[in-house]
Amino acid sequence: MSPTVTTSSEANGNVSAATARAAAKAAAVAEATGPQPVTMAKALNTALADAMQADSTVLVFGEDVGQLGGVFRITDGLMATFGEQRCFDTPLAESGIVGMAVGMAMNGMRPVIEMQFDAFAYPAFQQIISHVAKMHNRTRGRLKLPLVIRVPYAGGIGGVEHHCDSSESYYAHTPGLKVFTPATVSDAYRMLREAIDSDDPVVFMEAKKLYWSKDQVDLEALRREHDGLSDGGSGTHAQRTEGRAVVARTGTDATLITYGPSVPTAMAAAAAAAEEGRSLEVVDVRSIVPLDDETITASVRKTGRAVVIAEAPGFASISSEIVARIQERCFHYLAAPVRRVTGFDIPYPAPKLEHYYLPSVDRILDAVDDLQWED
């Protein structure tokens, strides 16, 4: 079940209108059987459509998600297929979107809402922190809020300011929120379906630069896999993604632990290290909350060395949490201090400068080199 991450060249460039059109066209092509080239955008779109098909209480709303199909086309065609009552545009007000979703979830619906861009979600912070995260607790479990907040996040797309924040730490820091972030096309489908099925609120972080990444994926097989899970999960429980990291590449010398937009970079670094004779294991965290300590710990205990990689500023972040947990659990197995490769503690840089900021293959390999290899 370790997926291959194949990142298309568009993934590192801007999301132009042309690529959006191309993806929309690809999405319109009828699905053939067997593995086909599928973008993450298409996988997410299919997951939404399948969830809406399976359950009439699943609603999709937000800014531009209706007629336009979302600025990233993730909701493309949903309004046409399911009607204006199931997929619709709202006024331009993020707190309103989240607050209304809370009420709808209280009253029998399963809203899946889009925040359009990471930094655009901040007006909704009070609703998310004070209500979405706490409603289950303050009603002693009587009110469940089965809602999914989709947040396109992170950079590497040449976006201007307020369009490239890595905001996952804010959500992960708040008790009561689950935080998922898929890195592969298959996981995008699996995890979004699981998020929608979850009775707990899920902040679903979608790395923008991976939207147009492609993989050979059999969507029909993923659909069957999901249906197997929801039928009581018999037999296929191992396929669950919530709280389960995945070893994306096996290795013996050191572990790279990462998630979301940095997974392809870590995979490339591991491939480059292999050429230099160093065997790196890559762990894709993918479920930030709940975190899979077990998989991370097992890998680091095996290799004895670790580098944690994330695009977000490193200070007080997911990466610092992972390092802390590794120290607590693996101290006696470590041959070197755990290193981090993260974004700098600066506002996300302008397009011309972002390559200085983003974790790169070279920076990861430098960190690996520092892991005290001499006896």
Partner: protein, 435 residues
């Protein structure tokens, strides 16, 4: 945005245009519409029909309907006298019918109970048996009307100052006070009485009300949702977003503002320079009304009609109740630092209980026997609070982990085990010390 070639009169018509397809309500639609209005002949004909509908229903122009009463609706004056119809503050032709006798007597009973609850709780705070209590003393008429205007399946979304309204909806008094005794949860089951948990962050609950109404509407249910907030809260962003969402999606939500003149210490003049809070409604394409918040007769008349209109598909409505917070914000506040005793005394004379009592007695609807029965009821509720809140509820620290998620995460299970270990070691130490 008002189109350049469009006067106010035309504008009011355009926002009346019936929506196509999305909603399944009757023809009476007074609210904004998320489909852009077009100036075609057909739409003009439809708008004329809507205008005629308003005239038929209210006897006034659409513009007069959208804007609140010039002063406020008051039906019974502070001396308990029923005012002449033409002096009640309504536009001619837009008068409100008097609520029924049985409704008024039932409301009076709740009013007396509400006052007793407020004063009992304040006493319990002073005795250290409750952590805090934001009293609605002086605002009980608003509390009672907000609860009584709704039907069984309707929803109420209260703030932290609305415990009396929560109780009047049928929530157990002790459960309703759970937050104020310092417990970690909201106490009552929101789904049992269709009452949201009393909300501390300002106006966030208005959006939850919008969502509940939206979900109900999508299922074709005729649920009405009443959402409460105060005057200070109208400055919050979620107030704006909630009113706008309710209007755009044409939802049966009544926004009920208790204008009690203060946000802790800050007077209304620092919140807004609008002619009234009810005037804010028209900016969203929604009708606004203002009413004497210490006149339970007028409150019930206005809210009963608002609920009826909303249920018939009018879209959202805003009602501003003009009232006064007679006591400090909470027991932790000192109101003498920011307002004069003379102002408080002035409002004392407008008390909601004495005027309704005088009115009902004058109508022969309240005799000594009924009064005694009502007083007894109020005393019984007070006793229930004293006893219920006096009891030490056993706390289980492990409950802190149980409901963060549907199922505790591995991390929460670890932390729960850590606490359990601490507690068991403490218990052992205690036992050993005892020996």
């Amino acid at each position: 945005m008002i189109p350049a070639n469009c006067g106010y009169e035309t504008w009011f018509r355009t926002i009346l245009k019936a929506n196509s397809g999305y909603r399944r309500d009757g023809p009476m639609t007074i609210s904004a519409d998320h489909t852009a209005a077009e100036n075609t002949d057909l739409n003009a004909v439809q708008a004329d029909a809507q205008e005629a509908e308003v005239r038929r229903k209210f006897g006034i122009s659409l513009e007069a309907y959208m804007l609140p009463a010039h002063r406020q609706i008051q039906m019974v004056d502070p001396e308990g006298q029923l005012k002449a119809r033409e002096e009640q503050g309504t536009e001619a032709g837009h008068e409100y019918p008097l609520p029924g006798d049985a409704e008024l007597v039932a409301a009076f009973e709740q009013l007396v109970v509400g006052r007793r609850v407020n004063d009992q709780n304040s006493a319990l705070v002073r005795q250290g048996r409750m952590a805090v209590y934001p009293s609605s003393h002086g605002q009980e008429a608003c509390q009672v009307a907000a609860a009584l205007c709704l039907s069984e399946g309707d929803w109420l979304f209260p703030t932290y100052r609305d415990a009396v309204a929560v109780m009047a909806r049928g929530v157990d008094p002790v459960e309703a006070m759970t937050i104020f005794r310092g417990d970690w949860h909201g106490g009552y089951d929101p789904l049992e009485h269709n009452v949201g948990i009393q909300c501390t962050p300002l106006t966030t609950q208005l959006l939850h009300a919008v969502g509940v109404a939206h979900a109900a509407k999508l299922r074709g249910e005729k649920t009405v949702v009443l959402a409460m907030c105060g005057d200070g809260a109208t400055s919050e962003g979620d107030f704006h977003e909630a009113l706008n969402f309710a209007a755009v999606f044409h939802l049966p939500v009544i926004f009920f503002i208790q204008n009690n003149k203060y946000a802790i210490s800050v007077p209304l003049s620092h919140q807004t320079v609008a002619p009234s809070l009810a005037h804010k409604a028209v900016g969203y394409g929604m009708a606004g009304e203002r009413v004497d918040g210490n006149d339970l007769v007028a409150l019930l008349a206005v809210l009963d009609r608002a609920v009826k209109l909303a249920r018939e598909g009018s879209g959202p409505l805003l009602v501003e109740a003009n009232t006064y917070r007679m006591q400090a914000h909470t027991n932790a506040d000192d109101a003498t630092r920011y307002r004069a005793e003379s102002e408080v005394a002035e409002w004392m004379a407008k008390d909601p209980i004495s005027r309704l009592k005088t009115y009902l007695q004058g109508r022969g609807l309240l005799d000594a026997e009924a009064e005694a029965r009502i007083a007894e009821h109020a005393e019984a509720v007070a006793k229930q609070l004293r006893e219920g809140l006096g009891e030490d509820v056993p706390v289980d620290p492990q409950e802190l982990f149980r409901n963060v998620f549907s199922e505790p995460t591995p991390q929460l299970r670890e932390q729960s085990a850590l606490l359990a270990d601490e507690l068991s070691r403490e218990a052992t130490t205690r036992e050993e010390t005892a020996r």
